[in-house]
């Protein structure tokens, strides 16, 4: 129960951060990705601000080994840089550049009642479903 409440609070704060920073607005994200045009560097400062706060927390928790609610730390263990990581990043980046949406902002903008964000989010869910059905056949996990 406690972990549900803390997750809800974290999601809410995350969403407010996306709204405050302007990152729930695709126009602003595309302004960052347009480095050869009139460039809006805001997204870089959003990342810097986020990492400045979360990096110390990650380093502290790594040393501690468990969460404050006495649960295990469930951090990714895969350190292998493989084809899936690179091809996945490429496809994600192309989609991000096409519409200016990544998953978090699309969900927040859907919550704001933006119909186009909801359409993007539903297509994103479909893309995840296609991955589940087909990816292991198309791109083996190990070459």
């Amino acid at each position: 129960m406690k972990t549900t409440v803390t997750a809800l609070l974290a999601g809410l704060i995350f969403g407010l951060g996306l709204l405050l920073s302007g990152m729930a607005n695709p126009e602003k994200v595309l302004g960052f990705l347009d480095i050869t045009g009139a460039w809006d560097p805001s997204l870089a400062l959003v990342m810097a601000g986020a990492i400045a706060v979360s990096l110390p927390a990650f380093q502290w928790l790594k040393g501690r080994g468990e969460s404050l609610l006495k649960g295990p730390l469930q951090l990714p263990t895969n350190t292998h840089i493989d084809r899936r990581l690179v091809i996945g990043g490429l496809l994600f980046g192309i989609g991000w550049g096409l519409a200016g949406f990544c998953p978090g902002p699309a969900i927040v903008a859907s919550g704001a009642g933006q119909e186009k964000a909801l359409v993007f989010t539903l297509a994103m869910l479909a893309g995840m479903g296609i991955f589940r059905l087909a990816a292991h056949k198309m791109i083996p996990a190990r070459e």
Partner: protein, 143 residues
């Protein structure tokens, strides 16, 4: 490269970023979990275990605009892309983030805060793909 000073919002970018970092830190500190939004959504589609905290975080994101509106009018959300582009982009983002094990939140914020080399590579790849996509769309195809 020319900076669009009229669009650049350094203060709200840093403050919003700090909130995003705080949310990621809270989820790690209390739940022992990475705030990776594509991973949470994908896991909800794929598995019936660990639904509670993941769903709670996503509901938090969806409620953020409503919470914001208790205090102030929502900031602008401008979505220039048409429906065919939004659907293609959503499919690519959904498939790509699952294949590459993460998006801007999981790799970009949490992964870099963990000093993960996999996340560093993923972030460089999706940023580069986003830059190239916007360059092609705005400067090569649009002329």
């Amino acid at each position: 490269m020319t900076i669009d000073w009229a669009a650049f919002t350094p203060a709200t970018a840093l403050a919003g970023g700090a909130l995003i970092g705080l949310a990621s830190a809270l989820l790690l500190i209390f739940n022992g979990r990475i705030a990776g939004i594509s991973g949470m959504v994908g896991s909800l589609l794929e598995s019936s275990s660990g639904v509670g905290w993941r769903l709670a975080f996503i509901i938090g994101l969806l409620l953020a605009p409503l919470a914001w509106q208790l205090f102030s009018a929502l900031p602008p959300i401008k979505i220039a892309a048409g429906y065919p582009t939004l659907i293609a982009a959503g499919l690519l983002v959904g498939f790509g983030t699952r294949l590459g094990s993460g998006c801007t939140s999981g790799h970009g914020v949490c992964g870099l805060s963990r000093l993960s080399s996999r996340s560093m590579i993923a972030t460089l790849v999706f940023m580069a793909a986003g830059f190239v996509t916007v360059y092609v769309l705005r400067h090569l195809l649009a002329g």
